[in-house]
């Protein structure tokens, strides 16, 4: 899969780091750059189910392009949301729907650490794609 430039850059930077602790630290730095969904906007309707952590996401279209903001109480989930923003923001919703979540694995971030239904990242990613799909259909 070829990724958007900003994401590919992130993947390359992360892939260079061997130690998982360092990768997490780097993740938090990247996360700081990305617009977060503040607690105040968290509510039941934007909550992502099936995570160990509290996680919320809001999405919208702007000039036909997709944008998300996300917030979570776990820092790593927050970081993964930031990376997801890199992957999806400013793209046509159709491309968001077709995106594979494997970029997180390529970054060595082991999204799979909480696999299956309690996999916060995968639940979040699926929610983002669902939103993209319904925004697309609504448009």
């Amino acid at each position: 899969m070829t990724w958007p430039d900003a994401l590919q850059e992130a993947i390359d930077t992360f892939a260079d780091v061997f130690d998982p602790m360092e990768r997490y630290e780097m993740l938090f730095e990247w996360a700081a750059d990305v617009n977060e969904l503040p607690d105040a906007e968290w509510n039941d309707s934007n909550m992502i189910h099936g995570c160990q952590s509290q996680a919320h996401v809001m999405c919208h279209l702007e000039d036909g392009l997709f944008y998300m903001r996300g917030g979570a109480d776990a820092q790593i989930v927050q970081g993964l949301m930031a990376i997801t923003c890199l992957a999806v923001n400013g793209r046509p919703p159709q491309e968001v729907v077709e995106l594979q979540p494997t970029f997180v694995d390529e970054m060595g971030l082991k999204a799979s650490l909480t696999p299956s239904r309690s996999n916060g990242f995968l639940n979040m990613f699926k929610r983002v794609q669902d939103e993209a799909r319904s925004l697309m259909e609504g448009a």
């Binding site: 160990q52 082991k110 799979s112 650490l113 909480t114 696999p115 299956s116 239904r117 309690s118």
Partner: protein, 409 residues
Amino acid sequence: MSLDIESIRADFPILSRKVAGGKDLVYLDNAATTQKPQVVIDAMTRYYEQSNANVHRAVHTLAAEATEQYEAARDTLASWFGTTRDNLIFTSGTTEAINLVAWGWARSNLGAGDAVVITEMEHHADIVPWQLLAEEKGIEIRVVPIDTDQDTLDMEIFSASLSGAKLVCVVHTSNVLGVANPVADIISQSHAAGAKVLIDAAQAAPHERIDFEGMGADFVAISGHKMCGPTGIGCLLATTGCIEEMEPFMSGGDMIETVTMEKSTFASGPQKFEAGTPKIAEAIGFAAAADYLSKLDMEAVHRHIRGLATYTANELKSVHGITVYGDHSVADGSGVVSFLHDTIHAEDLARFMDAGGFAMRTGHHCAQPLLDAYGVTSTNRVSFYLYNTQQEASAFVEHLRYIVDKFGG
């Protein structure tokens, strides 16, 4: 593609065993359980030696690997059985799968006066749960008899018994006679009558690919240990609609959404019926068995097994005093040959054969009503699988002739 039986045999470590004072083991009790190829044993060993952890709930590397392997096993098996992961519930075997339908679906969807159709050809696992449910809920059980001249279900009575039936439970392939029932016809007639269908595929799944979606049954029950997999695992395949209609059976961890002291809510999908720590190594071993079979031409396997059974049935018929049960000339069916000698007791015969290295089964095969229909209380039964050879079948017949000559006077 033809089968290379010698190379298949080399995959099964137990087949080089000696028994009865140095004789080669000739294992002909495959309908009871099959042997396991090295790859299945190794898959479980590897899991225990490298990735063992409890699944689904933890945030650490081993737990992630274990969960991935366990859930990948579900994917592998679902695709081998022609369905998707959301339609495969792990059970400990066919017996638990049928009990799950009885307790989880029928118990909450059927009521007094509703009819369940079963047949005289069923294994006890597909009789007793319905009897217990009938007792509790006032359900009517209708039994389709065997036509013992044709060795098939009496399909006229079957059709007649469908009116108002809510569930039809039929064994795909008999473990005593080896005959395969007309499953497609049974399903379409049942559905036309508004009944759901449960197929007991314990004996079918080892021999042919079960295509759940193509078959169109509502429930299919399968055991891993009869198809090269480990003991203690099997599955229930069920349509999404039926899974949604099911109430929890066993309950506890892993099948809940939330628990408070007042009330609990449940997970959806297969998970709802998989309470407690799963059979993790077993699921991985079962998937390794499906992977193993997937590398073979299953139609060639089926032809091979049928060939051995047909040969053996024909030879046995020519042995003085032997009666063979079931019709082995038909193309489908499994590799089972049941027979009796008219003077040598079945148990003696089995011991004499064992003394020659031949493992065959004796008894009622958990199908007493079927045997009752034939007026016997037990049979000797040989059942073939993919690693059996023509030479083994010939040697079996030869040793049996010798026994009959000696003791059958």
